[in-house]
């Protein structure tokens, strides 16, 4: 929790202080960090034999469930956006 709040707030504050400076592009840094993040996610899947073993058994059910949960989340949010005009 604290690892999330502190860097986020620090970034907002530094960004706010430097907002009138020449545009600083952090795109490359964030791209690199995303790649490292995804690599370590892949690593934790690959190194968990329990997770790999349970995949063939429950993988299909899990895919159907996650697909439907994500689909309905998007639909419900769309309906909400239509109702209150979020944009």
């Amino acid at each position: 929790m604290l690892n999330v709040i502190v860097p986020l707030i620090a970034g907002i504050m530094v960004g706010f202080l430097l907002r009138n400076r020449k545009r600083i592009d952090l795109g490359k840094i964030s791209f690199g960090a995303i790649i490292v993040l995804i690599f370590s996610m892949g690593f934790s899947i690959g190194s968990s034999n329990e997770l790999l073993q349970s995949m063939p058994k429950i993988g299909l059910n899990a895919l159907v469930m996650v697909g439907l949960a994500m689909f309905f989340s998007v639909v419900f949010l769309k309906v909400f956006q239509k109702m209150v005009k979020l944009k």
Binding site: V4, I38, S44, G46, A62, A69, F76, F80
Partner: protein, 203 residues
């Protein structure tokens, strides 16, 4: 981008598998404890930075006002509805399926908690389903951001306050930072209560 994401994920998976089963070059927990946390902190900082330098972000946010609180509630209802439908489609316990999808993507919570309340089989589903939610959000966000900039927020569920936040902000713009974070935060708060409440529904 999606090519790089999938390639890196595959590479990480192979590396993790080899390290765990054959070479044992580094301790597995080293990657999750240091590499993962370090990149996450760096990403959150750069995303906060992008929000801080965006002069219009606060104005846009002020316009949305309290209405952004409706976002996590819609996503929660959608996730539960998805569980309900999938329970019927797959012929498994409908209440259990609803509890599984009420993890909103928080797999370290949903796995153990659903397992404790509904038994090991659904617990495993609770882990895998919510894990896939985080994974699929990361992989599909570059594509889904083109539909609507809040679509990835709905996909990510509770994960949009940390792991998927940076990717969403990168593809959907700095003004989505607060919506994504607050939605993910609210859903993370709601997940344990929702799972427990659903477990109380008579089967």
């Amino acid at each position: 981008m999606i090519k790089y994401i999938l390639a890196t994920l595959g590479l990480g998976g192979v590396a993790g598998y080899l390290n765990n089963n054959y070479v044992n070059l580094i301790n597995n927990s080293w990657v999750s404890a240091y590499l993962f946390d370090f990149s996450l902190i760096l990403l959150l900082f750069t995303m906060g930075f992008a929000f801080g330098t965006d002069k219009e972000a606060v104005v846009k946010l002020r316009k949305a006002g309290l209405r952004i609180l409706g976002v996590p509630f819609s996503i929660a209802l959608g996730s539960i509805a998805g569980g309900l439908v999938s329970g019927y489609v797959l012929g498994i316990s409908v209440v259990g399926a609803m509890a599984v999808t009420s993890g909103f993507g928080w797999y370290t919570l949903a796995g153990p908690l659903v397992g404790q309340l509904f038994g090991a089989d659904l617990g495993a589903l609770g882990f895998v389903v919510n894990f896939l939610r985080e994974l699929l959000t990361i992989v599909t966000t570059p594509l889904m951001a083109k539909i609507d900039r809040y679509t990835p927020v709905a996909l990510g569920g509770a994960t949009t306050m940390d792991t998927t936040l940076s990717i969403i902000v990168r593809y959907c713009g700095p003004e989505t930072l607060i919506v994504a974070f607050s939605s993910g935060f609210a859903l993370s708060m709601m997940a344990p209560f929702t799972i427990t409440a659903i477990a109380g529904i008579p089967k």
